[in-house]
């Protein structure tokens, strides 16, 4: 019985996490939750055991307290009971806040185990939340969404879902505390979140470009290698943007670090160097969340370092590592791009009208190569605010002499009838075949599908990622909301947006495109369907 309850609860948590609003997606989510529920059972069992133990302890401790607080508890419980039971169909909008928290206690009021402090706290918070929500609904505000995100915080506090990465649990104070501790140990300052976050995204970091991490760093940086500091700044200011550029710059910085490295006495290079890199990586992660490609590159470098035998001389080890990094860049990025260009040129025929979105270095490369192969084609560059990277793509293509048209994403359905192919870049390819890319990509893919235009995604295999993601809410990146502010004719409308409490700015960086909308993925291994990503990943793992 309890187990079922737990499972139910986990489902709710999942739903809250993903912040589903759409009906269709919800169904999928529920199914997923069911599947995951099965997997979670072991964990859940363990947790249950722990909880029971705790309850016993607290019983002994708080026997007298419980009597005092019993009045309060009954109140709390009654409110819990009165709240609607969480059925699987209950929508997120229905204020599940007070429900999810005290659920396990509700059906067994006879037992009434005395609650731990945290539980009580959570309960109190849930009650407040419910009150607030009711108030807001009276006002006529679309409040419940906020309530959802907050209640989720409460549930998380109660029972942390394990193995969730830190960067998607920003609203969980425990996780933040842990992060702060870790950073303190690594002597990296903690970057503070900036501004008000739009509901459903409170679990993500949101930084301000105007408050760089270097503010809290000593100026001749002693803890962090200067190359890393520079790189971090370039990431956070967007000077180095795009996952290829970021990976190359990262490896370049690593090269400098390795060059300047000498093993301290009584240490082993393979261990010490990895430890040395760790704070650097968490520094970079705070400057801007790492991209999947960078994650893979870091994994590779770490593996290469740990592969170095202990009897290897330092100079030789360093040389080996530098060579490995060079090889990685050459093999995985430069040559891969070449291979992809070669195979995708086959797909470009004379008279094609190709639509591209944003500024993908790989797609640009392909188009330039195709031009050199004397293909006759025309390009439509679709762009979107706030970064307007499309302009850069446009500049590069026009400079090469490719005839281009430039439209904003709002005009995509207008322009699509004349398009014969859509070429898209990717930030990462996920294990379930979803394509993670610049926000807006999925919209373009969707419209292209509707117009029956083939969508080709170009992606090097080093961007393949074992993660699974079905929506853009759970794991994403929030850019500086101030980027959305525009000055036109000397007027800046959103200048004081922070002073308007009902107003939130959302500057989302990525979205995911379901495999249904993608016809083909072009990799250096050849053209594959989206669904073959796990295969490639498996093969890669065997290789390494």
């Amino acid at each position: 019985m309890l187990l079922q309850q737990q499972r139910k609860r986990s489902r709710i948590v999942k739903m809250a996490d993903s912040g589903v609003t759409d009906g269709n997606e919800k169904k999928g989510d529920i199914e997923r939750a069911k599947n995951e529920g099965k997997e979670l059972t072991k964990e859940e069992k363990q947790r249950l055991r722990k909880e029971k133990k705790q309850q016993k302890k607290s019983k002994e401790k708080k026997d007298d307290k419980a009597i005092q607080e019993s009045g309060k508890e009954t109140k709390g419980d009654s409110s819990a009971v009165s709240a609607p039971q969480p059925s699987t169909q209950s929508t997120a909008q229905k204020v599940p806040a007070p429900v999810s928290v005290p659920a396990p206690e509700a059906p067994t009021p006879a037992e009434k185990p005395p609650k731990s402090k945290a539980e009580l706290k959570a309960e109190r918070r849930a009650r407040q939340e419910a009150e607030r929500a009711s108030k807001q609904s009276k006002k006529g505000d679309p409040g419940p969404q906020g309530a959802v995100s907050k209640s989720k915080a409460a549930t998380n506090e109660l029972q942390p879902v394990k193995r969730l990465p830190e960067h998607i649990q920003v609203d969980n104070p425990d996780v933040l505390k842990k992060l702060a501790k870790k950073l303190e140990r690594q002597q990296i300052p903690l970057r503070l979140d900036y501004g008000y976050k739009v509901s459903l995204f409170s679990h993500l970091h949101q930084y301000s470009r105007k408050a760089p991490l270097t503010q809290q760093l000593s100026i001749p940086s002693t803890v962090i290698h200067p190359a890393i500091v520079r790189l971090g700044l370039q990431y956070s200011q967007g000077i180095v943007a795009g996952s290829n550029a970021r990976s190359i710059a990262l490896l370049h910085a690593f090269k400098q670090v390795i060059r300047d490295y000498t093993t301290p006495p009584n240490e082993e290079l393979s261990r010490d160097l990895v430890n040395r890199l760790k704070p650097y990586i968490s520094f970079l992660n705070q400057c801007r969340p790492l991209s999947a490609s960078m994650g893979n590159a870091i994994k590779y470098v770490k593996k290469e370092i740990s592969n170095i035998p202990s009897q290897c001389k330092e100079e030789e080890a360093k040389r080996k590592l530098l060579f490995c990094i060079e090889w990685y860049i050459k093999e995985k990025i430069i040559l891969a791009a070449k291979a992809i260009a070669e195979s995708s040129i086959e797909k470009i025929s004379d008279g094609d009208v190709i639509l591209i979105y944003g500024c993908s270095s790989l797609v640009n490369h392909i188009l330039c190569e195709a031009l050199e192969k004397n293909r006759k084609f025309r390009v439509i560059v679709v762009d979107s605010r706030p970064r307007l990277e499309g302009r850069e793509a446009l500049r590069r293509l026009v400079q090469r002499g490719i005839s281009c048209t430039y439209v904003l994403i709002s005009a995509v359905s207008y322009i699509l009838p004349e398009v014969s192919k859509v070429f898209l870049g990717a930030h990462a390819l996920l294990a379930n075949g979803y394509v993670m890319s610049r926000v807006g990509t999925s919209q373009i893919a969707l419209v292209a599908k509707a117009f029956n235009v083939p969508v080709l995604v170009c992606c090097e295999t080093y961007k393949f990622c074992e993660r699974v993601q079905t929506d853009s809410f759970v794991s994403n990146e929030l850019d500086d909301p101030d980027d959305l502010i525009v000055t036109r004719n000397g007027q800046t409308h959103l200048e004081h947006w922070q002073q308007e409490p009902p107003l939130g700015l959302l500057n989302l960086v990525y979205d995911v495109t379901p495999p249904d909308f993608v016809d083909l993925v072009i990799t250096e291994l050849g053209m594959i369907p989206c669904t073959s990503v796990p295969v490639v990943l498996r093969v890669k793992n065997v290789d390494q």
Binding site: Q187, S218, P226, I239, A249, S361, Q399
Partner: protein, 603 residues
């Protein structure tokens, strides 16, 4: 100060220490060898770096700035004299925990800042941060350094909006403030990239901007009213370039404009060299220097690759890549708010003293000062160590230096009193600067005066007196700082008034051409016989190229100020000067016309 605390500063489990390599990110260089040529009144006995500002030596401020942001070492370029004073100064020893490496440069040898850098070239291992000793600021230094880092810049510098000095400055008439020659600073749309730089003095007629800049940056904002804080981040390659190129002697005057210009000069293109054959050799030179300036990273191609892949561009509107493919980039951070003073003039010095208390959180009254209970000390005043302040005194908006002694019934407002000054009973001091070791006699009434080092102002007395000359002769230049004439004058209403007459002539002789350069002379005009007495000190800058001896200058000045009509007692004068003054006085008596080199003067 107001910056967030740096908790990661002391921790040096860092890459630098462990690696044992000498590579650091930045080396700090403090330039503290300047003589303070624009405020010779103050600096002729105390070198500029050691001038007290808020009871701390001036160079304490930049050192503190560096220490606060996390520098652990600094190279101090200074003179022997300053070094000696530094070693005895307790404040410097106690407050500055950085490792200071003092490098002495010969005094008074015309050594520019770039020369100084060349001098210490051996010690420079990496990029440098050059700070001038007269900078007082609360800038968040990371802003400047981040520009340097993020854009891989060759030069990053700090500028600030110029401050209006509202305080009345002793020795300056209201209108006399000829504005300093303005700088024109051109920045791009982001306001960060430094595109253009020119000084009013260099412009002959009108401002001309090169086409190559306009082509690349069609929108350029030219700003005026900015003060260069003399804080520069420079690539190591620049120092190496300096050693190659010996003609550049000053950073601000020559190097910075050169770098700013070079951003847009044609890059190493063989075609271009062919184009104008006439100055081919010069071009070649440029090419080689350019080439030198560019060596920054060993992995240039890789960085280039990352840049190519990145979808970022610093500009839009034309077809060229980020930074227009240029490798040499200069950036500037312009402070919109906050304190930023360069203490290089008397006015700035006074202003800095007023603002200094805001910069550090120390009790304004030093605990070792002895202050009697029945006196008023304003909260905006600073009282130094071991001061003695007697009863019934009132001190407002003033700084009282270390070991000074203020006797009864003294009123000090808006003034700066340096170290070991004695102020006798009943004095009234307003808006004045009193240098170290001076003694102010009983009942003196000083308004907007500047009293030189070790001067003694007699108690109110109907007689006038003149004091002191100092002539310093060094091998290269003859520098004559002349005297403070103090002369008392009892006006109609028996109100004591002190007039401080100050003449400072600076005569420099270069080689065989006996050209007098920058003959700065200041003299007092005269006291008004009105009821409201006020001392006026004038300062005359003669920019015209006089060719005349020092004595004539003095004579001319004295005459032009018409103050010899009162009887003056000449005592304690240097023989030569006395002789000339006598000569003048004879001239006066006979009502003769004295002929200067370029003009007639009538009495």
């Amino acid at each position: 100060m107001r910056l967030p605390p740096l908790s990661y500063r002391d921790s040096r489990s860092s890459w630098t220490k462990n690696t044992g390599t000498d590579t650091m990110e930045l080396q700090a260089v403090l330039m503290a060898a300047g003589g303070g040529s624009r405020m010779t009144d103050l600096t002729y006995n105390t070198p500029k770096p050691m001038l007290p500002v808020g009871n701390k030596p001036l160079m304490w401020y930049p050192l503190n700035l560096l220490e606060r942001v996390g520098f652990e070492e600094v190279i101090v370029i200074t003179t022997k004299e300053v070094q000696k004073m530094m070693s005895t100064d307790s404040k410097m020893k106690r407050d500055i925990k950085m490792k200071m490496e003092v490098v002495c440069v010969p005094e008074d040898g015309d050594m520019g800042t770039a020369d100084a850098l060349r001098h210490i070239q051996q010690k420079i291992k990496t990029d440098i941060l050059v700070v001038s000793c007269d900078l007082i600021t609360d800038v968040a230094l990371h802003e400047v350094v981040d520009l340097f880092r993020a854009h891989n810049a060759t030069l990053a510098m700090l500028m600030s909006k110029a401050h209006e000095f509202t305080e009345t400055v002793p020795g300056q008439k209201g209108k006399k403030r000829t504005a300093e020659q303005r700088d024109f600073v051109g920045v791009d749309e982001s306001g960060k990239r430094l595109l253009f730089m020119a000084n009013e003095a260099d412009l002959e007629d009108g401002l001309s901007v090169r086409k190559s800049i306009i082509r690349k940056h069609p929108r350029m904002h030219i700003k005026t009213g900015l003060v260069d804080a003399h804080l520069y981040c420079l690539k190591k390659a620049v120092v190496d370039f300096l050693t190659e190129n010996k003609s550049i002697s000053s950073i601000r005057g020559e190097l910075v404009p050169y770098l700013v210009r070079k951003q847009f000069s044609k890059t190493t293109n063989s075609q271009k060299v062919k184009e104008d054959l006439e100055d081919q050799t010069q071009k070649k030179n440029d090419c080689s220097t350019n080439h030198e300036l560019l060596i920054s990273s060993r992995d240039e191609p890789l960085l280039q690759l990352a840049q190519e892949r990145s979808c970022w561009n610093d500009h839009r509107g034309d077809m060229s890549e980020a930074y227009h493919g240029g490798k040499l980039r200069c950036y500037v951070h312009i402070m919109e708010q906050g304190l930023c003073y360069r203490v290089n003039t008397l006015a700035a010095y006074i202003e800095a003293n007023r603002q200094a208390p805001k910069l550090f959180e120390e009790p304004p009254v030093h605990p070792s000062a002895i202050i009697s209970e029945r006196c008023q000390v304003g909260s905006d005043s600073i009282i130094g160590e071991r001061c003695q302040i007697a009863e019934k005194t009132s001190i407002k908006r003033s700084t009282i230096g270390i070991s000074s002694n203020v006797k009864e019934k003294v009123k000090v407002t808006n003034s700066i009193v340096m170290h070991s000054v004695t102020i006798e009973e009943g004095c009234n001091i307003q808006g004045s600067v009193i240098c170290s070791n001076a003694i102010i006699g009983r009942g003196a009434d000083l308004k907007y005066c500047l009293v030189g080092n070790g001067q003694r102002i007699e108690p109110e007395a109907p007689c006038a007196s003149l004091w002191l000359t100092q002539i310093r002769v060094s091998a290269v230049c003859v520098r004559v700082c002349v005297c403070v004439f103090v002369f008392f004058y009892v006006c109609v209403r028996a109100c004591a008034c002190v007039c401080v007459h100050y003449i400072d002539g600076e005569v420099r002789e270069h080689g065989q051409n006996r050209t007098t350069r920058n003959s700065t002379a200041a003299a007092c005009s005269h006291t008004h016989t009105h009821t409201h007495t006020r001392t006026l000190l004038t300062r005359e800058h003669s920019h015209a190229p006089f060719v005349l001896s020092f004595h004539t200058t003095v004579a001319k000045l004295i005459l032009s100020n018409r103050f010899l009509h009162t009887k003056t007692c000449l005592c304690g004068w240097n023989t030569a000067l006395c002789h000339h003054l006598f000569w003048i006085s004879t001239a006066e008596r006979t009502n003769e016309v004295i002929v200067g080199t370029d003009q007639l003067m009538e009495i």
